[in-house]
């Protein structure tokens, strides 16, 4: 059986992003398209997502002008391509608190958000440090924090402490502390719902940007290479990469980095009228293909 349909939904992209920012040590080796995506998980009477992207109203102009982010489309339009609406989404897993992953929570009025408690508390701790430590706070939008207050008051913010199994049937959360951020996490979908699954997927947030992070430059002689940006330690990033790859039976291509442009070479996909890609990883029993 296949319990969930899984789609990677592109909502914006940077056409030319330096490789050195993605894979540690790849200096002066050119650029690559960096898609911005979130994940849709549909099945078992559930509609869930991993991350929600950013709010273009607040950040769009700066991002477009300064960093070359192009083609942002709102969730209503992006999700509409596969026949769902933001209001329908009931569960959202936030891999980490950077604005481009949790910056659009207000567009999902009926969802409950899961985030690691450590991600919140360590950011807050960081804010108490002297200004000279401000690098540690980068990527956090104070406005997101204020929106999170509302979520919490409405009982729609669940702060998770460490790993949690079966948050939804067959879906587990795994803490990856002191890696890309203080309290990053990745999401495992056991798509056969088996405890010892033979059909697992990992949605890794920014714990890997590209497959080079998970299998090195030579797939025949794989190695882990850290990402280009870690608040925590690169050792932890590498050990987490190993943990993720092991959890999908050693097939690194079942670990899904949302910024990996080459997912299209591995899985069926299509381009929407807005020029954004939808990649279909799995189709639940009885579900219609969207690509």
């Amino acid at each position: 059986m296949t319990a969930y349909s899984l789609w990677v939904m592109e909502y914006a992209a940077v056409p030319n992003y330096p490789l050195s920012g993605l894979v540690y040590g790849m200096h002066n080796q050119g650029v690559r398209k960096l898609p911005y995506c979130y994940i849709v998980i549909k099945g078992q009477g559930q509609l869930a997502m991993v991350d929600v992207g950013y709010n273009h109203k607040a950040h769009g102009e700066v991002l477009a002008n300064t960093y070359g982010v192009r083609g942002w489309r709102p969730p209503r339009e992006v999700l509409g391509e596969i026949g769902i609406q933001p209001d329908d989404v009931s569960t959202i897993f936030i891999t980490h608190a950077h604005f481009d992953h949790m910056g659009n929570i207000e567009d999902f009025p009926n969802a409950t958000f899961f985030l690691q408690e450590r991600e919140l508390s360590k950011w807050v701790w960081t804010m108490s440090l002297h200004r000279r430590f401000r690098w540690l706070m980068g990527g956090i939008d104070p406005a997101d924090m204020m929106r999170a207050v509302d979520l919490a008051r409405q009982g729609r913010l669940v702060s998770v402490e460490g790993d949690r199994e079966n948050v939804l049937p067959g879906i587990d959360l795994h803490a990856a502390f002191d890696t890309h951020t203080w309290g990053s996490m990745y999401v495992t979908v056991r798509n056969d719902l088996a405890a010892n699954s033979q059909d697992s997927w990992v949605f890794c947030g920014d714990l890997a940007y590209m497959y080079e992070n998970l299998r090195g430059h030579d797939p025949k002689d794989p190695e882990y290479i850290p990402i280009g940006l870690a608040t925590g330690s690169q050792f932890n990033v590498i050990m987490t990469a190993d943990e993720m790859v092991r959890s999908v039976g050693g097939d690194c291509y079942r670990v899904i980095p949302p910024h990996e442009e080459r997912l299209k070479d591995l899985y069926p996909s299509r381009i929407t009228k807005a020029g954004l890609r939808i990649t279909q990883l799995a189709l639940a029993d009885g579900e219609k293909s969207q690509v």
Binding site: V14, Y17, P18, G21, L34, Y36, A58, H59, V62, L63, T66, Y67, G68, V69, H98, F99, D100, E117, L120, S121, W123, V124, W125, M127, S128, R131, R134, W135, M137, G138, G139, I140, D141, P142, A143, M145, M146, A148, V149, A152, R153, L157, S159, D206, Y209, L229, T231, H259
Partner: protein
């Protein structure tokens, strides 16, 4: 074009802007912890002391700022931001410490939101004031 006097104003008020943004972030962070029922949301959280000190520095800097005609709108937003964030801070000091998780967050959140909105308007009024430090997110490869 920015004239020299306005450029000087920008340089002199950047830290004030950053400090106010930091105080807003600190208060918002504390509210999230309190509202989410975090075990870190203790009534004697050191953040409030830090936020208070930073706010006083920002307020002092603001009093010494000399806005040009070009910068007057920016200064107005910055001054209103400082006032509103000051109210939020005072409310947090009064109510967060003794009550901890029992805090009525609106007492802090409403002025905090107003203050942050003014900061955003200030950032839009003149160049050189960033709402978010994008460099440390994954889009941060400045072109």
């Amino acid at each position: 074009m920015i004239d020299d006097a306005t450029a000087t104003y920008i340089v002199e008020t950047q830290k004030c802007f950053e400090d106010l943004k930091q105080v807003a972030s600190q208060l918002a962070g504390l509210l999230v912890l309190a509202a989410a029922g975090s075990k870190e949301a203790l009534p004697d959280h050191p953040m409030l002391v830090v936020a208070g000190e930073l706010y006083r520095e920002a307020d002092d800097a603001l009093r010494q700022a000399q806005p040009t005609e070009r910068a007057r709108k920016h200064f107005g937003h910055l001054a209103r931001a400082a006032t509103a964030i000051g109210v939020a801070l005072k409310e947090a000091e009064l109510h967060l410490r003794p009550l901890g998780r029992g805090l009525d967050v609106d007492r802090v959140l409403i002025p905090l939101r107003a203050g942050y909105t003014e900061l955003e308007r200030a950032a839009d009024a003149l160049p050189g004031f960033e709402k978010v430090s994008y460099e440390r997110a994954c889009c941060g490869g400045r072109r």
